[in-house]
């Protein structure tokens, strides 16, 4: 056990927190799981609803093969067992935004079985087990706050394909949950199977939390926190919930198995329903659908479409580009970032490129709250800027100025250098002239330097730089100055 383990202490007792996640990831697909309706986010209410989605009499579901491929692809990305035969079941319950009166899901026989996700922790890597992945329909949306006297229902989401990815109870801290979600999202984005957009609800999770005294093996009673839609809320919910449970135990009370909700206004979880009130979903195989079956060839064909995934890419970056594990992790965490990086280094120095992307570019994006795909500076232009530095045409300092200009107008840095006359002065003669000028007008300082005041060297460099309007090649200035002063 490392010393940075996440523990909750109460009355001198230390508790470990056990977390398992059921992530609901919306399948990236043009159409729904069992109908041809569109899935576009943000459309007018009830404009993407077919007769099947609204459960009209006599309407029947027909599986969307693309969604099946997406689930299999995700399964492969999770190093998981792909089940060649799986079964769709009906989960029966009544709600206004559930038109069929049941959700088509997979219960006993999911499409994907056990797999793994590897987390990069400061202390090393940790493998989180995946229990299963299954396909299911999303429900519609009940809107309670538009009409004062009634609830309105929007069925645009009704029937949209979701992948429920169930982890084993292997997570131990809010930070691990953060890394897990991010890694899962990264894998699915690499695969193109889920856009992972949490604001739009494409990724949500039910969080199972229990606590146990450090050093004991038996799992405590868990509580399930339903439908949390941001990593921050997940972390807050876990922290609150774990502390609540520890407190209960310390007071000599038992934790009740129940379903809870996270109140984002109070930052608390509260009880939604107890185990006794739990729904009896009366699962049974959907007689409208045949078992979902495919052969090895189907899986093999999908395997051919699997791109290089984050872990593989990270290893490649470390081995081939000699990046540090830290840099590599950052650069591969997002597919677009890794693509940006690889585009830049096609023509530029690897180390400089990594520094500029993780440094200046990330700062710029963060400041403006942009994704790398929205970067105002194209990888081509960043590459050119980096080349200007490595070729000694501009200094690092000037480069920052140019970067600043580029962030406002995505212009070729070569043109900026030309237009603004920012080219570095590297002509030894011209620099020598400048240096002579500075030394002449500061004879007293020259004497002081010569009598041992070494620190003044910096002063001369600064003066020469100033005289060159910042364009002097610092390396050469240093070299020539040294010759003049020491010669």
């Amino acid at each position: 056990m490392s010393k940075d383990q996440y523990l909750i202490e109460k009355n001198g007792n230390k508790y470990e927190v056990i977390i398992g996640l059921e992530v609901h990831a919306q399948v990236l697909s043009e159409s729904k799981l069992f109908s041809s309706s569109a899935t576009k986010f943000g459309s007018e209410p009830n404009t993407q609803v077919s007769l099947v989605d609204a459960a009209f009499p006599g309407m029947l579901p027909v599986i969307n093969e693309f969604c099946v491929r997406q689930a299999v692809k995700t399964g492969i990305g999770l190093n998981a067992k792909i089940n060649k035969k799986s079964i769709f079941d009906r989960k029966n319950y009544f709600y206004a935004d559930l038109p069929q009166g049941y959700q088509i899901s997979q219960y006993k026989d999911p499409i994907v079985g056990e797999g793994t996700v590897v987390l990069d922790l400061p202390s090393g890597s940790k493998t989180i087990g995946i229990e299963r992945l299954h396909l299911e329909q999303d429900a519609g949306k009940s809107i309670h706050d538009i009409d004062p006297s009634s609830t309105l229902v929007d069925l645009n989401r009704s029937g949209v394909a979701l992948m429920e990815i169930v982890s084993k109870p292997d997570l131990r801290s809010p930070e691990e949950v953060n890394l897990y979600i991010k890694k899962l999202r990264s894998i699915m984005r690499y695969l193109g199977t889920c856009d992972g957009n949490m604001q739009e609800g494409s990724l949500r999770a039910d969080v199972n939390v229990s606590v146990r005294k450090l050093g004991t093996d038996k799992l405590g009673t868990r509580c399930e926190i339903k439908n949390v839609n941001s990593i921050k809320f997940m972390q807050m919910a876990i922290e609150y919930e774990a502390n609540r449970q520890v407190e209960l135990i310390e007071e000599g009370n038992a934790v009740d198995q129940e379903t809870r909700l996270f109140d984002t206004k109070k930052n608390q979880t509260r009880s939604m329903r107890s185990k006794e009130d739990a729904h009896d979903y009366r699962y049974f195989p959907d007689p409208d659908l045949l078992p979902l079956e495919f052969d090895d060839q189907f899986i093999e064909n999908i395997k051919k479409e699997i791109p290089e995934l984050p872990d593989q890419k990270k290893n490649r970056f470390i081995e081939k580009f000699k990046l540090s594990p830290y840099e590599a992790t950052i650069l591969v965490s997002d597919l677009d970032t890794s693509r940006f990086f690889e585009k830049v280094i096609e023509k530029s120095d690897i180390k400089l490129s990594a520094n500029w992307i993780t440094g200046e570019l990330f700062a710029l994006l963060n400041k403006n709250n942009l994704e790398i795909s929205e970067s105002p500076i194209s990888p081509e232009n960043l590459s050119k800027l980096i080349n200007l530095i490595s070729e000694g045409i501009i200094s690092g300092k000037i480069a920052k100025t140019i970067f600043e200009i580029m962030s406002k107008e995505n212009k070729d840095p070569n043109i900026i250098v030309e237009e603004k006359g920012l080219k570095q002065e590297s002509d030894p003669k011209a620099l020598e002239n400048l240096i002579q000028k500075v030394l002449r007008s500061n004879e007293d300082k020259v004497n002081e330097y010569k009598s041992g005041k070494d620190k003044l060297f910096g002063f001369f460099v600064g003066q020469v730089m100033k005289e060159s309007k910042g364009k002097g090649n610092p390396k050469m200035i240093n070299k020539i100055l040294k010759e003049k002063l020491n010669g």
Binding site: G58, M59, P61, A96
Partner: protein, 485 residues
């Protein structure tokens, strides 16, 4: 004109094609007779005016290549018909007008048929006497106050009373074959997956099949040919080569092996049914078929199995009728209250009974003992048939354990009502094709039927056997039009 309504579907088709009669003449004849036959309560929705217009349209620009050229047809009100009210004979769908057409009815209209109305049935097809309909019970033309059977009771009654030249029904546990048997008509339930379920109000998805109900076997072959199609909109539709049932229809059944299952000789079966069955065997022998005794050992478990599987699926299929999106809604204090009131008022007693049974057998703690066990038994029943079909080509049984009964006779005794389906239910559980043909009369002159069960997709085989027997039996349905004043 009177003889128009006495013609078979095939006769009508031929006469239209030879331009002897027009679509309008036929349509008018059936509509006129339907109007005189209100007492039978067969129609829940009439589309007479639009039908006349359609027939005129057909006559102006006739297409004689169609298989049902300008033929008027009334259909069971379980088939969704575009812009025509579709209720499943339930209050909960009392005013429901679909914007879409079921695949099976679409197939009819594509071959030139014209809708003249929607026919009464048991509510959501749950019943064996057409007494559970929200729109009142249907009377059989065979006798006053006699049930036509169910659930396709309106269809059987309308057909036997000559209000439609042929019709279509749905059969989940016998809902085509039993009413056909009660009314002296021919009814066929195809192999599961032969007729698309798209647009048919679902009762029990793994059992429901649409099928033809006709005056004779030849009509049955023709109508099945039109109805059956592979439909990508129904995931359980099967893509098999559908033969041309009517042109392949023949009476050469010499050497065919017909099985007689000993388990169908149930206790208390009337002697006249026993006799009828015996007669059936002899007809088959006369046709050159070979009679072989067989065993279907799990037959006894079919009915209880059916009454677990069907309600389980129904309880879930009917969850969509919740007052939220369409159909009847009772106002309530809140969502739950609205659900409770809508469903209490919207569904009839039999439907509620089955929803409750279904909910119970799927409940946690009971699932394994009921639903799962029933699925296992269903497999055994299927295996029984598979084994039997290693030895025989088809199986002959009575269609029902008794003839039609009087309205109200069994209404308060659901189990005795359920027993009506004892010979038909195993066929649905095994997904097989089965046809009921009229074979005789009981002591009250009420019709009795024989059932021929075939191998999967061997509709042609059982049609040919039925066709051969039909000639020997030479059954003539006689009604004296007592219900027409």
């Amino acid at each position: 004109m009177t003889n128009l309504i006495d013609l078979t579907l095939n006769d009508l088709v031929n006469k239209v094609k030879s331009k002897e009669i027009s679509s309008k003449e036929i349509t008018t004849a059936y509509i006129d007779r339907s109007k005189q036959s209100k007492k039978l309560n067969t129609y829940v929705e009439e589309t007479f005016d639009s039908a006349i217009k359609s027939s005129e349209k057909f006559d102006t620009n006739p297409d004689f290549k169609k298989k049902l050229p300008g033929i008027p047809l009334a259909v069971k009100d379980l088939f969704c018909t575009k812009n025509v009210k579709t209720t499943a004979s339930s209050k909960i769908l009392e005013n429901f007008i679909p914007s879409y057409e079921s695949t099976v009815t679409e197939n009819l209209w594509n071959e030139g048929a014209i809708l003249i109305g929607k026919l009464n049935c048991d509510e959501f097809a749950m019943g064996s006497s057409n007494e559970t309909s929200h729109f009142g019970n249907v009377i059989s033309p065979i006798d006053d106050n006699l049930v036509p059977g169910g659930s396709s009771g309106g269809s059987a009654s309308a057909l036997a009373a000559k209000l439609t030249p042929a019709t279509i029904g749905t059969d989940t546990g016998g809902s085509i074959r039993q009413p056909a048997s009660f009314t002296g008509t021919v009814g066929l339930k195809p192999t599961y997956g032969s007729c698309s379920r798209y647009g048919i109000v679902a009762f029990a998805s793994s059992l429901d099949q649409a099928g033809p109900m006709t005056k004779d076997v030849k009509d049955c072959a023709l109508l099945l040919e039109v109805m059956s199609s592979f439909d990508p909109k129904d995931s359980t539709s099967i893509n098999f080569k559908r033969p041309n049932y009517s042109s392949n229809l023949n009476k050469y059944i010499k050497g065919k092996k017909i099985g007689i299952p000993k388990e169908y000789r149930v206790d208390g079966m009337p002697f006249e049914i026993e006799k009828l069955w015996e007669k059936g065997k002899n007809y088959l022998k006369d046709c050159g078929a070979e009679i072989i005794d067989i065993s279907l050992p799990h037959t006894n478990y079919a009915l209880p199995t059916y009454y677990i599987v069907a309600p389980a699926e129904a309880s879930s299929n009917l969850a969509r009728y919740d007052g939220v999106k369409y159909g009847f809604r009772a106002e309530g204090e809140n969502l739950i209250d609205m659900y409770e009131k809508t469903r209490s008022q919207g569904f009839g007693d039999e439907v509620k009974r089955r929803i409750m049974i279904g909910t119970y057998v799927l409940s946690s703690g009971y699932y394994d003992a009921y639903y799962l066990k029933a699925q296992k038994v269903r497999k055994l029943i299927k295996n029984d048939f598979d084994n039997a079909f290693n030895k025989v080509d088809a199986i002959l049984t009575p269609s029902t354990p008794s003839s039609a009964f009087k309205v109200g006779d069994k209404k308060d005794d659901p189990v005795s009502m359920y027993l009506n389906d004892i010979f038909t239910v195993p066929v649905n559980l095994a997904g097989l094709p089965g046809i009921s043909i009229p074979a005789g009369l009981d002591k009250n002159n009420y019709p009795l039927g024989l059932q021929i069960i075939g191998k999967p997709f061997d509709e042609q085989g059982i049609l040919n056997i039925a066709y051969s027997m039909e000639e020997k039996i030479n059954f003539k349905l006689k009604t004296n039009d007592w219900w027409i004043k």
